[in-house]
Amino acid sequence: MKRFLPLIILAILFILPLVGLSSYIMHILILVTMWSIIGMAWNLLGGYCGQVSFGHAAFFGMGAYTAGLLYYHLGLSAWWGLLVCIPVLGVFSLVIGFICLRLRGPYFALATLALGEVLRVTAENLVKFTQGDLGILIKQRTWVEKTWYFYVILLLAAGSFFLIKKVIESKLGYYFVAIREDQDAANSLGINTTLYKTIALCLSGVLTGVAGAFYMNYMGYIDPTTVFPLYDISIVTVMVVMVGGVATYWGPVIGALIMVFLAEVIRSVPKIGAAHQTLFGILLIFIIIFLPNGIVGDFRKMVGLFKPRGALK
């Protein structure tokens, strides 16, 4: 049963649009699926390999801009961005990894934190190349209906899920976890820690970039502040994984589901809408203190909290 769970869920999700859901619900489903890809990508690097990134917006935005610029400068369909962003993000991640992953400690977290900001400023200032704050607009989106977008992102998400599962269950995954648990021990066992950390970063960056390229196609419009923000993308990515469960297969999916729904609910309440980051921040603090391994990781503990005292014995 457990082996087939991903396939069953995938099948259910495939049938879902046929029921005739409203366009708003489809939009939410698409966002949830997109965020689970970003979450899974972050989880590979942060959860399994232990390298916390505060700048996944950099990879996301880079993917989005790759797709957007292909369309804007070369007149190609922005869907080519999904393919082109793989080498672009791969090289970009290699460079970042080469610089920051040789050192341990918080250097990497700090570098990624600055990275999103730097890319935003660069995109704002290179007006000739990126249109600056005007952003890039796709004049005609491929489909009006949301169903096909959903299928595309669902396929991408399923692909990422199985890819990450394969990686984690392979030798590579064990290397990652070894590096997270004790880098010195891993090093002394002959694992080239820098190399494997860089591999994790490349995989993570490419997957996030693909999600970004999809975002360009789906939304049809990007500008530097929507794709490179610190709180609304980088930190939400961290939250998706923290809420769902660090270093679990399903954590990012559950986390994305909760975060997207929560964001929609909070934004629809008129007075509280402006304070959604406060509530997110409080949720983040709460999760770190009480459920440090997330809902999936601390499921037993959570169930125990809600049970009456006597039932524990």
Binding site: G47, L103, A109, A111, A114, V121, N125, I288, I289, P292
Partner: protein, 308 residues
Amino acid sequence: MAAQVELFLQTLISGFLLGGLYALIGLGMALIMGVMRIINLAHGDLMMVAMYVAYWLFTLFHIDPYLSVFVATPLLFFLGVGLQKFLINPVMKVESILPHNQVILTVGIGMVLTNLATVFFTSNYRSTPVSYASKAWYLTDYWKEAPIELSLSAPWSLSFLMAVIFTIALWFFLTKTDTGKSIRATAQDIDAAMLMGVNVGRMRVATFGIGAALVGGAGCLFIPIYYLYPTLGKQFTNIGFVITVLGGMGSTEGAIIGGLILGIFESMTATYLGMGWAPVGRFMIFVAALIFLPGGVASLLRKKRLGK
């Protein structure tokens, strides 16, 4: 040619003054980094809080921003102590997979502070229009035949001077008092400090408080010469950690030198490339420090000392 030299020297002066203020921001962060081994990513947001305190004191009670240092600094000290005691300390005890939980926690704190400021004070740009804002001293006033014209802005110089006083006070505290020595001992070797009878838990709380107070002071010194908006903290957090890395993780002398270097460098980018590129320049310094000087300025200082 004279104009070129003039521009260069003027940029150098303003960079140096800016660097003194940056050093104050970096000092607080380096102190926290040294004792707790975490980067405080809410640092700039704490500064934003102090700036709002100074702003409201000025707007409502017409208290000069330089005087509100004496209100904002203790206030921020207690805010820092509270954050450390009730949020960060509990997380240190929690078992989790990720080692960076405390850092993520500080991000959460910063997010809450920024958003609350936006909700309560709106995201309008604000400033304190002090009467001496545009006062300046000119070189030609003192030296009639000077070949070039240089100026020294009064509020900038005053802020710089106050920053120097803060730094000296901190140095005195860290080297001459018992608490200061305990904090340094904790930063050097936490286990040894504990064995020598240092109350490490209390030192952590005190350090976070002092770090917050320092950045609070920096906020008050910044407000007469800068403007204020809720998301400004992010930028100063970036500045703080670039200084911390440049200076060498947790080194206070390094933070001062790092702050001055960054201030001058940023002034240069602003003059010769344009204001908007300052964050990119900052990142370049960060990357350069990572590649060429991973131990920061502190490692150079140490090498020199050992060579003697």
